[in-house]
């Protein structure tokens, strides 16, 4: 316990391990959490009054809550008073050229096939102002503005569009929803805000990568996406490049609101530091993601590829309120070494003729544990609703675990719920068959795993899918043999 505290302390407090600190002033308030700290955060960000009330309300709820212990996870105790809850944007280490960057990181970039300029951006190499990515950003902003699309940081949204934030924040994830959501609601630092006006089809994938000031992943990030009537947006979170972050605990909240006939596609690739091979270090990822299909015939689709983090606790869910609304969840969760993942979804059918699809593909290797946990709940009024769930597990070796916890509650007789589950092992025979055709064991595993996950990978935007494929193969390197 003491060691864990020390570790957490080290990870949260130590200087960036590569030791390049720039001398810009960083404002940090004292460690610990209390009402005063929340007031300071809100004041420093110059937030409207309602936001402070929201935060304080959340904090008071959080105090009365206990950390959830129902997940199939071993979570070391976390000292919430040992964390500093406000720091002005931390600077990433800056390098003059790629030669100064950790070669291991660069090797991974190359394996993923990330273009050189993007590598520089990700690794924190100072980027010349005339290169493409900057001009792309500018064009990008202009195009969005023409359509009336708002895509900015959460802080900016609070200054520029407080009414929209006030109207929708907490609608999908109420402040007291769960322990980590309450903590996030009290102390969230920043995040993304996105509003698609009525009848607008967002002409490009919105990626956090393009958002100005997005370089810092916050420890307590908050995202709010609102798709107004008849609009469409595809949103990408994260990237396949390995993310090294000195914050061990991450508790993010993502809310999606889809109004009449709106459609939101949300894709995530999560590749945070999973800890070393012995299970030391690594990010704890406790995320609350939920979308509400508020309007009739609206649709929310979650696609996730989870390969990183030491602990993943994450259930992107859909509340299908509007009649004829549709919820989808496509997931690949890979765990290796000592990683633990408890992930899945909730589909709450409220409106009539609502439909949901769940496809979950777990991959476990090493001594990791991988659980699917899902709830399908059909309320009495949700007549003629349908759900189809498919949960597959793939095991590599005999020291890892795969677990499935499906919960199904159906409140009427006209609805149909289907659940299919399989567990399989990567066969030595499959690998040998590939070997015999001249394919190396490493490539064979990559191929077999990608085949297994193909249904989900196909749901990702094209470029993302190609990178995700490579990522799966890389994450399993050395796990067989």
């Amino acid at each position: 316990m003491e060691e864990q505290d020390k570790l957490l302390h080290e990870v949260t407090q130590r200087e960036y391990q590569f030791g390049f600190y720039s001398d810009i002033e960083t404002e940090i308030i004292d460690k610990g959490l209390n009402e005063e700290v929340i007031r300071i955060i809100s004041a420093k960000k110059n937030e409207p009054e309602f936001m402070l009330e929201f935060r304080l309300n959340a904090y008071r709820r959080w105090l009365k809550m206990d950390m959830p212990d129902w997940a199939y996870l071993k979570i070391p105790p976390i000292d919430f008073q040992a964390i500093s809850y406000y720091a002005a944007p931390k600077k990433k280490p800056q390098y003059d050229s790629l030669d100064e960057v950790d070669p291991e990181l660069l090797e991974t970039f190359n394996k993923l096939g990330i273009p050189l300029e993007e590598q520089k951006h990700l690794a924190g190499v100072a980027v010349d102002a005339v290169i493409d990515s900057v001009s792309v950003k500018t064009t990008f902003k202009e195009t969005l503005a023409e359509k009336g699309i708002i895509f900015c940081s959460f802080s900016e949204a609070l200054q520029e569009h407080p009414d929209l934030v006030k109207k929708y924040i907490g609608m999908a994830v109420p402040v007291g929803d769960n322990y980590f959501a309450a903590l996030n609601s009290a102390v969230f630092s920043d995040g993304s805000f996105c509003y698609i006006p009525k009848g607008v089809r967002c002409p490009m994938e919105l990626s956090t990568y393009f958002r100005i000031n997005a370089a810092n992943t916050g420890q307590f990030e908050r995202t709010l996406i609102i798709a107004d009537e008849d609009s469409y947006v595809s949103y990408l979170e994260g990237c396949t490049a390995p993310m090294r972050d000195e914050n061990q605990l991450h508790a993010a909240v993502v809310e999606i609101i889809a109004l009449d006939r709106a459609e939101v596609k949300y894709s995530t690739v999560q590749n945070w530091y999973p800890g070393d091979k012995e299970g030391k270090g690594g990010i704890y990822n406790f995320v609350t993601k939920r979308g509400i299909c508020r309007g009739v015939s609206s649709k929310i689709s979650w696609t996730q590829v989870e390969t990183g983090s030491a602990i993943t606790w994450k259930y992107p869910s859909c509340i299908l309120m509007g009649d004829n609304s549709v919820g989808e969840f496509y997931s690949v969760a890979l765990t290796n070494h000592h990683q633990q993942a408890d992930t899945g979804t909730k589909m709450i059918h409220i409106g009539k003729n609502t439909k949901s699809t769940i496809v979950s593909k777990g991959i476990s290797a090493g001594v990791s544990d991988n659980s699917y946990r899902g709830l399908v709940k059909v309320l009495p009024g949700a007549i003629n609703s349908r759900n189809f769930s498919q949960c597959d597990s793939l095991l590599m070796g005999d020291k890892c675990g795969a677990h499935t916890f499906p919960y199904i509650e159906v409140g009427n007789k006209s609805s149909i719920v289907e659940h299919e589950a399989t567990t399989s092992k990567i066969g030595e025979d499959q690998i040998f068959y590939c070997n015999q055709r001249g394919i190396s064991t490493e490539d064979a595993i990559g191929m077999i795993v990608n085949g297994y996950a193909r249904e989900v990978l196909n749901k990702l935007p094209m470029e993302f899918a190609v990178e995700a494929q490579k990522l799966l193969a890389i994450s399993l390197e050395g796990s067989v043999g």
Binding site: G427, E428, D429, Q430, F432, Y433, C434, N435, Q436, R437, G438, I439, S440, T441, D443, M447, I448, N450, G451, Y452, A453, R454, E455
Partner: protein, 250 residues
């Protein structure tokens, strides 16, 4: 091309092969026959490099090199092809991707440029005709939902595509009806040349009506107990394996 000297192999302490000697030259077709459990498939798998076996004695040289020093994928790239008795299914991996990867690995090994998708499809069309492969099959996942006969055809199709120097056909005739057998045999015969060699492992003489061997060896209790020309296959068909068993004192 292939020289096997005093090969002894066991699985979990149980001896399966017990002093095999065999010489194979370019252009030759060797049939290896024998009753069930005589070690035929073990020999095929050891040549291809399957790991489950323990080599307790003997040596194998292939094209002048020590075969045991080569990883299974390198043996494949150097021209050893095994047509599996039970080809495995790989769900979600399209045949086309699998074959393109395999062929390009072979090309890379030989220092040739990888084929583009377009070039590959052209080669694939030619080879498909050889074994009358259905186009629909190459669009499916590797062996997934294939019938027994389709799986065997698919093996010969891959052989045609990879153009091996030494092909080992492990019970390729099992589970085939007579038409499929003819098609498969036709494919194998079309690929025969003065440069490459074939080992046909089979229980029955039937396949050898279509793929005519230069040499026939009878494997019994882990040893080659009889070697002769193709007439030996007919003799076996007539007298059955009981004859071999009796001659060996059982």
């Amino acid at each position: 091309m292939l020289s096997i000297k005093n090969l002894c192999v066991s699985i979990e302490g149980k001896e399966i092969l017990n002093g095999i000697n065999l010489e194979i030259n370019p252009g030759e077709v060797h049939a290896i026959m024998g009753p069930n459990g005589s070690g035929k498939s073990t020999l095929a798998n050891v040549l291809a490099g399957k790991e489950d076996y323990e080599i307790t004695a003997g040596e194998i040289t292939y094209m002048g090199e020590d075969l045991f020093e080569m990883a299974p994928e390198d043996r494949a790239r150097k021209g050893i092809f095994l047509s599996f008795q039970y080809p495995v299914e790989i769900p979600g991996v399209p045949m086309v991707n699998f074959l393109k990867t395999a062929l390009n690995e072979h090309r890379k090994f030989r220092g040739e440029k990888p084929l583009t998708a377009g070039e590959f499809l052209k080669v694939m069309r030619e080879k498909k005709a050889l074994v009358e492969m259905d186009t629909e099959l190459t669009n499916r996942s590797v062996n997934e939902g294939f019938s027994g006969g389709e799986k065997k055809k698919n093996e010969i199709f891959q052989m045609a595509l990879l153009e091996p120097k030494l092909s080992i056909l492990d019970e390729t005739d099992s589970g085939l009806d007579i038409d499929a057998l003819k098609t498969v045999a036709h494919g194998v015969n079309a690929l025969r040349s003065a440069e490459n060699a074939t080992i046909v492992v089979t229980h029955y003489q039937r396949l050898l009506d279509y793929i005519v061997p230069d040499h026939v060896h009878v494997l019994y209790k882990g040893r080659i107990v009889k070697s002769a020309g193709k007439e030996l296959a007919f003799e076996l068909e007539e007298k059955g394996y009981e004859w071999i068993k009796k001659e060996n004192g059982d």
